[in-house]
């Protein structure tokens, strides 16, 4: 009896159901925000919805952890988002990111209703909630999808919604400037290279599915691979705020409301790391030189970030520089992973 119950809980059907429910809750939060538009009610209702959605996501993580402990492996789920047919796969890498996004989503949702009273004169709490849940949902779908075209689409949704959240306090001139810097940098140094890279992958391998591409990648010439590595490193480097494309981060992250800053510094830059890992390590074959490049960028970033932080007195800017510095550590760690894998394969 108990084993049957466990079996039904530790199954991919359960996970798919939980995932669908949480996505539905995010959509309801968006719609409720757009309909209610203003007032504390919208704020509270939206936060309850996003909180519940995050808790459902954490339940997925919990189930996967139990599965890992009892069966020694996680449940890999392959499904598709209903209606839009967006292919989804949950594996170990995306599970880590789901944990980060769900925890931060939960924390910042709890924080939102009271904190937004600080922005009372701007009103529009409903729109804030709608954008806020779009932002979380888009990050979630980026790490879940197994299709490169949906990846770039959701990537853009994330950039756009985070831009709108950064310029939330639009009456302040410095906020608008930070938003401008952020969006222009993103468009030229993140979207453009990623788009060209993804189209090149699609064209040369003839598929949009990550699995098929990684199976067919060995056919590609080395020169093309080098270009693809470059494009992806530039694209993800600028989103992660790694030196030398870090200049937008100390302006943009503090300009946003604090609950958004938490998501920006805590989750969005990690989504960029996820992208780098997914593209340069999983889809494209691992490569020693890429490892060296990532390692040197990481080292540069962790040094420069922390040196800038020394002279900062503004709390939020200090934390933003700390983000840059920690991105350096993460990239260094990632580079070490790349080295090891490349060594093992060769």
């Amino acid at each position: 009896m108990v084993s049957v119950l466990w079996g039904s809980i530790l199954s991919d059907k359960m996970i798919v159901a939980l995932l669908n429910y949480s996505l539905i809750l995010f959509v309801i939060a968006i719609l409720a925000g757009l309909i209610l538009r203003e007032g504390k009610k919208a704020s509270y209702l939206g936060s309850i919805l996003t909180c519940t959605a995050s808790i459902l996501l954490l339940t997925i993580v919990f189930i996967e952890t139990i599965s890992l402990l009892t069966k020694g492996m996680i449940i890999t789920v392959s499904t598709a988002v209903p209606l839009i047919n967006m292919p989804i796969r949950i594996d170990g890498l995306s599970l880590v990111l789901i944990t980060v996004i769900a925890l931060l989503g939960l924390a910042s949702s709890l924080y939102t209703p009271r904190y937004m009273e600080y922005y009372e004169k701007l009103a529009r709490e409903g729109y804030f909630i709608a954008l806020f849940s779009t932002f979380i949902a888009s990050m979630l779908l980026i790490v879940l999808t197994s299709d490169i075209i949906w990846f770039i689409f959701m990537w853009e949704v994330m950039t756009f919604s985070s831009y709108l959240l950064i310029i939330w306090e639009y009456v302040e001139e410095y906020v608008m400037k930070a938003g401008w810097k952020y969006f222009v940098t993103m468009h030229f140094l993140s979207t453009l290279p990623l788009m060209i890279g993804i189209i090149a992958l699609w064209e040369t391998t003839g598929s949009t599915s990550m699995d098929v591409i990684s199976a067919r990648i060995s056919r590609l010439p080395t020169e093309l691979l080098a270009i693809l590595y470059t494009l992806f490193i530039i694209g993800f480097c600028s989103k992660a705020g790694v030196v030398p494309i870090h200049f937008w981060l100390p302006d943009a992250h503090p300009a946003a409301p604090s609950n958004v800053s938490a998501l920006l510094s805590g989750a969005m830059v990690k989504v960029a790391v996820y992208g780098l890992l997914r593209y340069c390590c999983y889809i494209l074959p691992v490569n020693m030189i890429v490892g060296y490049v990532v390692a040197s960028l990481g080292t540069l970033s962790l040094t420069i970030g922390i040196l800038y932080a020394l002279k900062e007195t503004d709390t939020k800017r200090l934390l933003a520089y700390s983000t840059i510095s920690h991105m350096g550590y993460i990239w260094l760690g990632l580079a070490q992973e790349l080295f090891c894998l490349a060594r093992v394969i060769s």
Binding site: T134, F153, V157, Y170, T191, I199
Partner: protein, 470 residues
């Protein structure tokens, strides 16, 4: 089917009769608008039915002059674009025409508008070149009346005159010659007959005609004048539907020719790239919102023609979805600038600086339409632009990067304009004041278009799947 066809025909006639009345009368225009919208919905149902069942209707006239009506998937999506924008135009015209007060154009407004919309619907489903030209002429004539609607204003009559002359000399005449050639080669006016010789000549003449209609470089100079002077709902129809009919016509020519001569394809590529570049470069010095959007049409024409040049007939689905997405976004942009004209009485960007705080709804709609127009997700225009970049990159890497860069640069310029609207460093109250309240129907029109843009690509793909079995 017969009942559907006859009912929609009766409603069309009824709408045209009621449209003869004076547009200054509230009740009469309400009646015309509702009959017009109903007739367009019925036409949509009719189009869907004949697409679904692959029916070809042949209305007999004298030999060779039969009106043949049929609809395939491409026609259906282009027609859907025309009908959606037509409905929105009628809906928004009802309140928007209050701007003109007691003044009147030299033809009944709704008659010209309905004639314009119906002729475009017929253009899309007609299957003989002679009738295609006939409806093209009705379209040109009614659009001329609408562009010259404010004939009492300085320059407007001249711009309308320019438009009409250019259309006749550079669009109608080449097309008539081209159709005459098609007739001499194939012996019939119907689409689909194999053209065995004179391919290059026919392609070149049609290109001249349709490029003029679409405002492709170097025959684009009339467009930034003509589109903004029309009443805003009509500008939406002009930029969102009429210029696309030119692209659609070119697509049909290429389809009939089978393949494009490499020389003609190269000419189209050069024209398209220059259009995009001219469009993007002109954004910077535009201070009039409607002129800005007119230049954006020229920019987007470059994106559409390059699909034809690189993929020929195979690019049909991408072209159709681009037409639908661009049409909806452009209509939203023009109608939201109409909202500004209606409520604030200005369309000058210098005067509108920093007005977002005071007029959130009006400027908010404009800003959202601008984002939609620049292909920012979640608006579905992104998919079409992405598809074009893919097609171009596949054929020519350098041009692909040029297109991707053009997209980014255009986006940044639009973003700069948006920042000017939102930014707080300007004193608002001094420059402009509210003339009228924003009516629900106008805000609703833009909202519908923006909501449709969230699902338009999914809708296109769905229609493609469903209509395959038809």
């Amino acid at each position: 089917m017969l009942i559907l066809g006859i009912t929609s025909f009766i409603l069309v006639v009824l709408a045209l009769i009621t449209a003869l009345s004076d547009e200054r009368s509230k009740i009469r225009s309400l009646y015309t608008v509702s009959v017009g919208i109903l007739s367009l919905l019925l036409l949509l149902a009719f189009m869907f039915y004949i697409t679904w069942t692959s029916t070809t209707i042949d209305i007999p006239f004298k030999q060779d002059l039969d009106l043949v009506i049929a609809c395939d998937k491409i026609s259906f999506i282009v027609g859907l674009n025309v009908i959606i924008i037509g409905i929105i135009t009628l809906l928004s015209s009802y309140r928007y025409m209050e701007i003109y007060g007691e003044r009147k154009g030299y033809v009944p407004y709704y008659l010209a508008t309905l004639g314009f919309i119906y002729s475009m619907v017929m253009l899309v489903i007609a299957r003989t070149w002679l009738w295609f030209l006939f409806f093209l002429e009705i379209m040109t004539l009614s659009s001329y009346f609408l562009i010259g609607y404010e004939y009492y204003e300085r320059d407007v009559a001249r711009i309308a005159w320019n438009y009409f002359v250019i259309m006749h000399v550079l669009c109608t005449i080449p097309l008539i010659i081209s159709v005459a050639f098609i007739y001499t080669v194939t012996g019939t006016f119907t689409f689909g007959a194999r053209i065995s010789h004179m391919n290059t000549l026919i392609a070149l003449l049609s290109l001249l005609g349709f490029a003029t209609k679409s405002g492709l470089f170097p025959i684009h100079f009339w467009l930034p004048d003509a589109h903004p002077v029309a009443p805003s709902p009509i500008s939406a129809l002009l930029s969102g539907a009429m210029v696309e009919i030119g692209v659609y016509g070119m697509y049909r020519v290429v389809e009939q020719l089978g393949s494009l001569d490499p020389m003609v394809a190269n000419i189209i590529i050069v024209m398209a790239v220059l259009s995009t570049m001219v469009g993007v470069l002109s954004y910077v010095r535009q201070r009039d919102v409607k002129r800005l959007f007119a230049w954006s049409t020229i920019d987007n024409m470059g994106w559409m023609y390059i699909i034809i040049a690189f993929t020929g007939v195979a690019g049909g689905p991408l072209l159709a979805s681009y037409i639908l997405n661009h049409g909806l976004a452009k209509a939203a942009a023009f109608i939201s600038s109409g909202v500004l004209l209606y409520t604030l009485g200005t369309k000058n960007l210098d005067e509108l600086k920093g007005t977002y705080r005071a007029y959130r709804l009006e400027i908010g709609l404009l800003v959202l339409s601008m984002f939609a127009l620049e292909g920012t997700p979640p608006f579905n225009f992104f998919w079409s632009k992405f598809g074009v970049v893919r097609v171009v990159l596949e054929n020519n890497v350098v041009l692909g990067i040029v297109y991707a860069l053009a997209w980014c640069i255009a986006f940044v310029i639009f973003l700069y304009i948006i920042h000017e609207l939102i930014s707080s460093s300007h004193d608002v109250k001094k420059t402009i004041s509210r003339v009228r309240e924003c009516p629900l129907s106008l805000a609703f029109s833009v909202a519908i278009l923006l909501a449709l843009l969230l699902i338009s690509q999914i809708l296109c793909e769905f229609l493609y799947r469903v209509l395959t079995y038809g």
